[in-house]
């Protein structure tokens, strides 16, 4: 029973997160401006991370945790660089 509940919840959550990712990438396509696309990427990162965590719950393994942690801790670096590029035209001054 527990297993069924959890697996169902995981499956639904995964689908929802996949949908969220799809929506985020719609912004990446539609823009209209670079900042939208970049936030789209950031959102994609976050949702992917969540997906990984749900994947961990679904499989009962903790080894996927590090990947999620890497996204959580370092995923913003790419988007920060993109943002700075937009603002200053240069990433590192």
């Amino acid at each position: 029973m527990s297993a069924i509940i959890i697996f169902t919840a995981v499956a639904i959550a995964q689908l929802m997160l996949a949908a969220a990712m799809a929506l985020a990438s719609i912004r990446m396509f539609r823009g209209p401006r670079a900042q939208d696309r970049i936030i789209g990427l950031d959102t994609l990162y976050i949702n992917a991370m969540l997906l990984l965590v749900t994947f961990g719950i679904g499989t009962g393994r903790v080894i996927y945790f590090e990947a999620a942690l890497v996204i959580g801790m370092l995923g913003f670096v790419a988007t920060v660089a993109l943002a700075k590029f937009l603002m200053r035209g240069e990433v590192i001054e």
Binding site: M1, I5, T8, V10, R27, I38, I46, M49, T54, M73
Partner: protein, 129 residues
């Protein structure tokens, strides 16, 4: 470490499922808002649903799941929560400020000048590069 979902008590399973779904729902709503809201400045609010309690929900679910299943406290997910909470604002702040600059430089719609705390979002224009 590997645990089996069938080993955990029902209450925990329900809690896990609940938090999981809450988190996923918030993330999804955030994404929907991100697509639906009309201006950039409005749109930046939406994904924070996902980055705040969206993450929170799923992390809590994970913590409950692994703690109960392995019968010991497993709360390292909290780190993810902390990091995301701390780092996401950086991106948003930097981007929003960059957008502000761009809108001002292009005298685009009603981008607020400094100090004028008024004005709604600028009109949307297509990006060039």
């Amino acid at each position: 470490m590997m645990v089996n979902a069938a080993d955990i008590p029902l209450w925990a399973a329900v809690a896990v499922a609940f938090f999981l779904l809450v988190g996923a729902t918030l993330a999804l709503i955030g994404a929907i808002g991100f697509v639906r809201l009309p201006t950039f400045y409005e749109r930046i609010h939406a994904p924070t649903l996902g980055t705040s309690w969206g993450i929170g929900g799923i992390m809590v679910a994970s913590m409950i799941f692994f703690s109960v299943a392995a019968s010991r406290i497993a709360i390292h997910e909290i780190l993810i929560g902390i990091f995301v909470t701390v780092t996401t604002p950086i991106t948003f702040m930097l981007l929003a400020r960059a957008a502000l600059h761009r809108d001002r430089a292009e005298q685009n719609g009603k981008a607020p000048d400094k100090h004028t705390g008024s004005g709604s979002g600028p009109e949307e224009i297509q990006d060039e590069a």
